[in-house]
Symmetry: C2
């Protein structure tokens, strides 16, 4: 039984969702995570993924190792950023070894790679006007520092990035920075086609994979991507503020240098010589001492994903979001909702955006009155993130059911409006 097969006479009943759960080949992975939610339905794994038993065990083992081995632990930790990067590359990113590091934050990694690209190439910087804030802010700063134009690409808020629009914007650019999956709409860009047109224009393309790593089958090498960054605390479940990652295609490594010339990127690190000389290979994009305990959770996350298989994860993401979209059409569209996510499975990641003029009070009511945890993105999006490793089809059904009941009852109309909220 797959999604789309009629159950209970073809209507979208809960028993249909339950049937999908029973047939789910990833079903056993749910038990690898800690729940204890009671009645809570968590559909915000696209903000912060769940804690797995594996991550907990890896963190504890590394704390034990710190306690017992002390400084001698560095014999194994010194290359952990590269080993965790290789593991992520193989499990989640379609990247061969020696091209990925797990280190720093997404923001710092974006700064390092974009800064390296601008030092190597003349031209402007292009980024979508609605891209995630940290990307735009970092690039605004780099544009000012390097005296470059920052061009904001206006894009359809729901559809995937248009290849032709990116091609036109890339003309005269040094660097084009794009999200693989849009943080608001969930729209998935065509990485291969867009990388080609950016490169044909003479620019480098840098992909932000925050909302695609661990959610869809990213294929950096096969798509010919130049550079990429992303986080590990969403679909990779490595914990709040866990180390991020960066990717630099092997062909570019020798010509690029990080603007942050830290000692972990030095060719002969413990010679502590007088001049900076970056190591050959991906290690030149390290900066300071790597966060060992955090990296242990990244490694555990990569290993679990390798076990599940990114192909199975991607298939389930498509099916979970398809169920959410069909439930939207059947239960929510008549209540003032519209879909903020592409309808074609190949054009979306693992979250859906449910748009409503009262999205903010509805979101608050969902959390406070219905024990459903989604998140809100201005101006009008409620995001349901559906990480395939632990989300059930019945979770999707229950979340929409509670949402529909709440809006039909007008519960949100009795919530106080507030201007700001942290998620």
């Amino acid at each position: 039984v797959g999604y789309g097969d009629p159950v209970d006479g073809g209507s979208l009943t809960r028993s249909h969702a339950a049937e999908l759960d029973r047939a789910d080949p990833l079903r056993r992975f749910r038990d690898r995570f800690e729940h204890g939610d009671g009645d809570r339905i968590y559909v915000d794994g696209n903000s912060l993924g769940r804690l797995s038993h594996d991550a907990r065990a890896a963190i504890q083992a590394t704390v034990d190792e710190w306690g017992s081995r002390l400084v001698t632990g560095w014999h194994d930790w010194v290359d952990l950023a590269g080993r965790a990067g290789d593991a992520l590359g193989a499990a989640a990113l379609g990247a061969g070894p020696g091209q990925v590091l797990a280190c720093d934050s997404t923001t710092v990694n974006l700064y390092k790679l974009a800064g390296a690209a601008l030092a190597a190439r003349e031209g402007s910087i292009v980024v979508p006007a609605d891209d995630f804030p940290t990307d735009r802010y970092v690039l605004e700063g780099l544009a000012a520092a390097h005296g470059r134009e920052l061009r904001l690409l206006e894009a359809d808020p729901v559809a995937p990035l248009g290849v032709d629009a990116v091609a036109a914007a890339a003309d005269g650019a040094a660097l084009v920075v794009l999200s693989h999956v849009n943080y608001r709409s969930g729209a998935l860009a065509d990485m291969a086609a867009i990388s080609r047109v950016v490169q044909a224009a003479g620019a480098l393309v840098l992909w932000d994979l925050c909302h695609s790593a661990g959610a869809v089958d990213v294929t950096l090498d096969a798509a010919g991507a130049d550079l990429a960054v992303g986080c590990t605390y969403k679909y990779l479940n490595a914990g709040p503020g866990s180390p991020a990652f960066l990717y630099v295609a092997e062909r570019h490594q020798a010509a690029l240098r990080s603007p942050i010339q830290g000692w972990f990127s030095q060719a002969d690190q413990f010679a502590m010589g007088p001049r900076y000389e970056p190591v050959a290979g991906i290690g030149r994009f390290l900066a300071g001492t790597p966060p060992v305990i955090g990296l242990a959770a990244v490694m555990a996350a990569a290993e679990m994903l390798a076990e599940a298989g990114i192909g199975a994860v991607r298939s389930k993401a498509a099916a979970l979001t398809a169920l959410a979209i069909d439930l939207h059409d059947e239960r929510l569209a008549g209540l003032g909702f519209s879909l903020g996510t592409p309808r074609a499975a190949v054009e979306r990641g693992a979250h859906v955006s449910l748009r409503h003029p009262d999205a903010w009070p509805i979101c608050r009511a969902l959390i406070e009155q219905a024990n459903v945890i989604p998140d809100f993105r201005r101006p009008d999006s409620i995001r349901f993130g559906l990480p395939p490793l632990y989300t059930r089809y019945t979770d999707v059904w229950d979340a929409v059911d509670r949402l529909a009941a709440l809006v039909a009852d007008g519960v949100h109309e009795r919530m106080p409006a507030e201007a700001a909220r942290v998620t």
Copy 2:
């Protein structure tokens, strides 16, 4: 009984050291750390501090919180970098609230603050020629990017930084970067006097506190320091690669901007508006999502240090290093050693440098044959780091005893020489 009082007839016997342990007001803190070393003597806490029960508990509690609260944990985590920074500032740094953040690595923090200083001031950059590599390398990169001269200040390898030498070098500088405690010699700089002469020359001073935070009573506010960075994995015992910290004196915050314009430094972060506008105050020096689990260990470390009192820590550091120096004079000087650390207690931190032409094979023999863990710094230094919270006077005595016996027996002469080693 304090160090210097004669015991056992005035000779430096082990029972004298044991007497000092019995009288140690910080004695009970040793039991707050995990040991299980057996015969091992650990004198490398200046590379990686020990695991405390407090840090283990804080990490586990935060993992639990991640598992149970999921994204709603951010209501408490969102300002954790500032709260942990304030706690560090009060416990270890002599810094009032709103001036310290715990975040990123020392390297990235140095880059952010030095970059901010160079964007605000014209002039060269000054750094000691023998300063820690990451400082020199980061500044070399910034000097090239900003078109500034990087001036290397030659300094005595054992004595504290000379105030007059720094004053002369600061002429025409925008920024002077100095280590408070030298990583090799352990020499302690006069922060107040040097800050004054740098500022009189029209430059900003940035202090690297990696080897002084948690070891001596740093007094950033009282000394009139401008900027500072440091790590928390040495004397603060927050774990391998734990989050670092940065300090920006309140009077400078409005005029300085981080070159890395991340979303956690944005004035209205979750408005996700079109333009970057840094928040007022220290928060503008954040970049990406803070490492929550690592910050929990930093907070635990700051709380333990506050409980012990930095004054008591500093007094014991002076006494432990005094014992090491006297033992050097009595037991090691005749074996070809010379002292690489200032003899006046006010001129040194919490580690001593024991110099020997065969330092490298001696260091290896100590580790492999005598189960003493120090570290080696080129060209000829064996460092004994003596973190006051858990180091016993008998540890110092035993470590020197084993060292003296080993060198007297010529054990190191039978070790293979090697060119490289990671510590």
